[in-house]
Symmetry: C2
Subunit: 372 residues, 2 copies
């Protein structure tokens, strides 16, 4: 299922086998929240060439809806995308966007943030809905605890998350017999080492195709996150992919790869693009051809970010990225992109999204190269 | 400069020579209001393959500004577009968007709708700014009278418009010596035949490279517009292109071509696209291969419009346009496009814009074919 080809210290270069083909790790997943990466078509995504994309179960279960998606033949067909899709459980948005009506051993009852309609989400529901979506990598339902929380509560939450994970696994095994998707467990435990290790151990004994680190990048400091990454990946199974959910900035992903993480997703490149923040390679770094994993710890010297709305770009006639695979990014100037933002032209968001996702995906290609 | 190749009754198939090359008439111009066709890049526009695009002097003189555009090397370079650009005079938006501070024989003083900054627009200013933009077809500054207006006022307005046109022409002749753009006059006169004919005659005696019909599609009935088209193009010079400004729906453009009009621009295909209204060929018409100019007067049988947000498209798995040049329109279904609109995905507006502009441009290609 997962095969580590090469390592460099703790960093791993691997291949993950999915029912939609073999994909290369480490990788970053662009987020197609409601079945589209904001501003992009699936042809654009194909041009960007990611290994896999992520879509959100919570949003899709509300619209178009579980039954509707089944009727439409699943998300791959609906959005015209052939490569793998990973789906979250829906839990994260249930806990952050929806109104929780009841949280119990059984699961969650919540009402939609769109029209107030009530839904039930038990562990089995989440897997069933991910099945309707046609997910190739499914995530178990976990309780997403708001931090800070006291240790007692966190401990109970981990136990609940493990019981839910176990129910997901049982339902998954019963439901999918051949041409099976993969199912991942999610390690929780906040910033508490003892709880994190306990959660990892419990999930390992249930047994999953991969393991995720949840509950980071939710307000803790960068150093607190690095502290968890120092010990946690080491305590997760060697022969399974490790997924750091929702992280992060480019230098954080590099640090995480150096800690043994294989998979990433994050809204940063797309969300910040829509606000005019561009991620760009530092030319000096690119030209020196240095190994990105050999930079000093937490180094940001390989990239920079700019706010393209800044007055300083008004007459900047350099092209956005002369090495881009997109004609638009090779020919349009910073001055033009600034004009598009300042005048609220929708094209601005599309160009920035292409730029930032290309940067993130090129970064992961570079990281894969630099492990070899 | 302008060469009529073929006629079919009053309809004309021609070639217009611009400094950016020969373009085929009749044609439709997509509108790049502020230097971008909303949601599209110039690569997209090249894929759509229009003869020429239109951009708005008022918007560009506010942002990036006249001096800035000169510094940036003009609009062609700024937006990466090689083919001809037609610019309006700025007058229409000055009269509809800005706050007029003073209207006099000299010209207009107005304040920007964006930041209230005061600008002066005399006929010479308009031509000078269009020069800074790098326009290939320039329009004279005209007074845009709000209708209904009494005949006395309209008459004075026409006289003023002619004097302004004359000043534009003089400034133009003084300014552009070689590699010259074209300059068009604009016939005004509301719905009054006597005034329209008088305006046309006055402008002809000034002498322009082409003549536009202004002040239609501003609230009058369709029949009132057709009444003007019945006599007015006939009274405009035979050997110059005739441009019907701001019109219109597909069947109206067909009627206008049948009246001898050669050029069109309109916000309908792009604006309505952003609200989910799609223009589509009627398959029955396309398959019958009928001559579009031989349909019964004002026939709409060659096309239909749909509101893609409609519930009826929820499970419609037909592709948007199997004959489209855009992969996305050949592979995405109506159901998916509806989902994108319902969930406010920006991709929705882009796909609809591509669809509608492709329809409008294909219509003009078809019309050109059907004159031959």
């Amino acid at each position: 299922m997962f095969n580590v080809i090469k390592t460099k210290n703790k960093a791993r270069r691997g291949e993950l086998k999915t029912r939609k083909g073999l994909i290369q790790t480490p990788f970053f997943m662009p987020i197609a929240t409601k079945g589209a990466v904001k501003t992009l078509s699936s042809r654009d995504i194909r041009d960007l060439d990611p290994e896999i994309i992520l879509s959100n179960t919570y949003h899709l279960m509300l619209r178009p809806g579980e039954e509707e998606l089944k009727g439409l033949g699943g998300l791959h067909k609906f959005m015209d995308w052939e490569r793998p899709i990973l789906t979250d459980s829906g839990g994260f948005q249930v806990f952050s966007l929806a109104n929780i009506r009841k949280l119990s051993e059984d699961g969650v009852i919540f009402s939609s943030h769109i029209d107030g309609r009530e839904y039930k989400m038990q562990p089995e529901d989440s897997i069933r809905i991910q099945g309707a979506i046609g997910s190739d990598i499914m995530m178990v339902l976990d309780e997403c605890v708001e931090l800070p929380a006291d240790k007692k509560y966190l401990e109970q939450s981990i136990e609940l998350t493990t019981r839910w994970a176990d129910r997901c696994k049982k339902y998954f095994d019963k439901t999918f017999k051949k041409d099976k998707p993969l199912l991942f467990g999610i390690v929780q435990g906040g910033l508490d080492k003892e709880l994190r290790l306990k959660s990892a151990k419990q999930l390992e004994s249930v047994g999953f195709d991969g393991y995720a680190v949840g509950g980071l990048s939710v307000g803790e400091s960068e150093q607190e996150m690095y502290d968890v990454l120092d010990y946690l990946p080491d305590s997760m199974p060697d022969d399974k992919p490790r997924y750091l959910m929702g992280v992060g900035y480019p230098h954080q992903m590099v640090e995480a790869v150096k800690s043994g993480i294989d998979m990433f997703d994050c809204v940063i490149p797309t969300r910040e693009a829509r606000h005019g923040r561009l991620y760009l390679w530092n030319k000096v770094f690119v030209e020196s051809d240095r190994n990105i994993l050999e930079l000093e710890d937490n180094s940001k010297e390989f990239y920079r970010t700019i706010n393209i709305r800044n007055e300083s770009f008004k007459f900047d006639d350099k092209v956005i990225n002369e090495n881009s695979r997109f004609e638009e990014l090779r020919t349009y100037t910073f001055a033009y992109l600034r004009h598009l933002f300042v005048t609220d032209e929708p094209l601005a968001q599309r160009l920035s999204t292409l730029n930032n996702l290309e940067f993130y995906l090129d970064l992961m290609r570079r990281v894969r190269e630099d492990i070899k």
